[in-house]
């Protein structure tokens, strides 16, 4: 390759580039696609299909435990999955019980429910109970679900994997009250006959780290034999792939890309799908950065060696 004095200067300048310029390039690379409004098709991977199938296999009226084990730090990756997950469960008439091993988890669940709810004004009176839309009643597409009957939020409990262990023998010991009203959970019809972990048909876990998918696999799956599907941040996903191979996990979604694939499968394209153009641009630029950085490094290094010799 020609490597004259001009090339040398260029490569050396490239190596010395201010990192704020790189910051700016990344900012632009991710921002511009947002305004282009492009939509791209994504190929669905086997692991996401497995997750989708494990939800599809549940009969209507099944009860699923949804554990929200993340905080706002991972919101862009996991929130789209959580929202699509809710829609998917509601569409298939599956009841869900929300909990969290992270304190922020149940609030993220509330946030997702508020977002997918389509009617947030007005109320109904049923047997003397006043039920408010947006709070006790959520409307999602053609379906209306009611708190305490179709879904419930048990809140957070401290103790990491020991909470799962405790739920193995008694859910009530781990969660005495619900999170919304602070009432004993026996007062809600959805909890009828739900005494321990193995009474659930499926555990779905949105996880950003510890405690999360690893603990659900170790305790819920291997100890109490409840199938578990998970959505993970992309950082964590590669570490739990071995569980997928062994069948300890019934499905896995990794990061925003996993969320986008899930949206594609359910036909509910939303935020994750929209973000895929920016995501693609980001990957291209990181690859380019590595290539250019290496090129500049090896070109200048080669010259230095020659100089010394």
């Amino acid at each position: 390759m020609s490597n004259g004095p001009f090339g040398q200067k260029l490569f050396q300048a490239l190596l010395r580039i201010d990192r704020r310029i790189i910051f700016l390039v990344i900012f632009l690379a991710l921002s511009i696609p947002i305004f282009l409004g492009l939509r791209i098709d994504i190929t669905v991977t086997q692991e996401v299909r497995l997750f989708y199938n494990s939800v599809e296999a549940l009969s209507s009226g099944s009860r699923v435990l949804l554990s929200f084990d993340y905080d706002p730090g991972s919101e862009p990756e996991l929130q789209p999955m959580a929202e699509t997950g809710f829609r998917h469960l509601i569409k298939n008439h599956i009841k869900f019980i929300i909990m969290g091993l992270w304190p922020q988890g149940p609030m993220q669940a509330n946030k997702a429910l508020t977002r997918i709810n389509e009617v947030d004004e007005g109320f109904l009176v049923d047997n003397g109970d006043t039920l408010y839309f947006g709070r006790d009643l959520l409307v999602v597409g053609p379906d209306t679900i009611r708190y305490g009957i179709d879904f419930i939020n048990l809140g957070f409990q401290a103790g990491n994997e020991l909470v799962i262990q405790r739920m193995g023998s008694s859910i009530r010991a781990a969660f005495a009250n619900d999170a919304r009203y602070g009432r004993p959970i026996d007062q809600f019809p959805i909890m009828n006959g739900l005494n321990k972990l193995s009474d659930f048909d499926l555990v779905i876990n949105w996880s950003a780290g510890y405690p999360g998918t690893v603990e659900w696999v170790q305790f819920a799956v291997d100890r109490f034999h409840v199938p578990c599907g998970a959505g993970n941040t992309a950082v964590q996903a590669p570490q739990v792939y071995p569980y997928l191979d062994t069948g300890q996990l019934s499905g896995l979604m990794g990061g925003m890309k996993g969320g986008a694939e899930y949206e594609q499968l359910t036909g509910m394209r939303a935020k994750a799908t929209m973000s895929m153009v920016s995501q693609t641009a980001a990957h291209i630029f990181v690859v380019l950065f590595i290539v250019i950085g290496n090129l500049a490094y090896f070109m200048t290094r080669g010259r230095k060696k020659e100089g010394r010799a």
Binding site: I17, R19, I22, F23, I26, F27, L30, I40, D41, I42, T43, Q46, D71, P72, G73, S74, E75, P76, Q104, P106, M107, N110, K111, T114, G155, A158, G159, L162, V163, Q165, R166, S169, S170, A173, N177, A179, R180, G182, R223, P238, Q239, Y241, P242, L244, D245, K257, M276, Q279, T280, H283, I284, F285, V286, V287, F289, I290, I292, G293, N294, Y297
Partner: protein, 219 residues
Amino acid sequence: MKREIPLILTAIVGLTFVVQFFVPHYPMGFLADMFSDWFSIIAAAAIWLGALNLMRVSAEKIYKREKDRFYAGVTIASFFLIVIIGFFFSGGRSFQEPGTRFDWLYINIYTPLMATMFALLAFFVASASYRAFRARNAQATVLLLAAFVVMLGRTPFGDWISNVLFLPEGWGIANLSNIIMNYFNVAGQRAIMIGIALGIVSTSLRIILGIERTYLGGD
């Protein structure tokens, strides 16, 4: 008192949890459940301890008139802001429901601060990619190539490149990234997993038997 009782407690609790896997009946099951409940409450107390300690350290900074005392003041003030609002102005046990003042703080202060802190990492990853990831030897080159395949294969751009390179349908970069994730990655992660598992089993045993005592600290 200072060392013996904790060592005995660790051994009793640890053995209980080991035995209840094999004998889940009374009294082992009962004891394990009780210790789990205790764990939960101690964990909560530990988090309270952390928060209170932060207040103490921050208060000391102000008291000693240290350089960054203003920021220590901000920390204390914001702590009390959310604590007072959470305890007295957010509906008690329903404190985290949508629409409460606590929820407002969570959505509009806590969430943007935390999410943006993590989002900054995107910039640093990009900068590190440019400056630090060098294909200095064969191993580093393999690492980078695997990263390229995974990064491109997980986006539609991978398909586009595969078309440009005239790769046959089903034999593109996306398929290669599936192979890396489902086989090479699984093999490597599994080796790490098994190694860590063996380490944890032996460390746990050392802790339960009282050989490993570093968690008790000095004297």
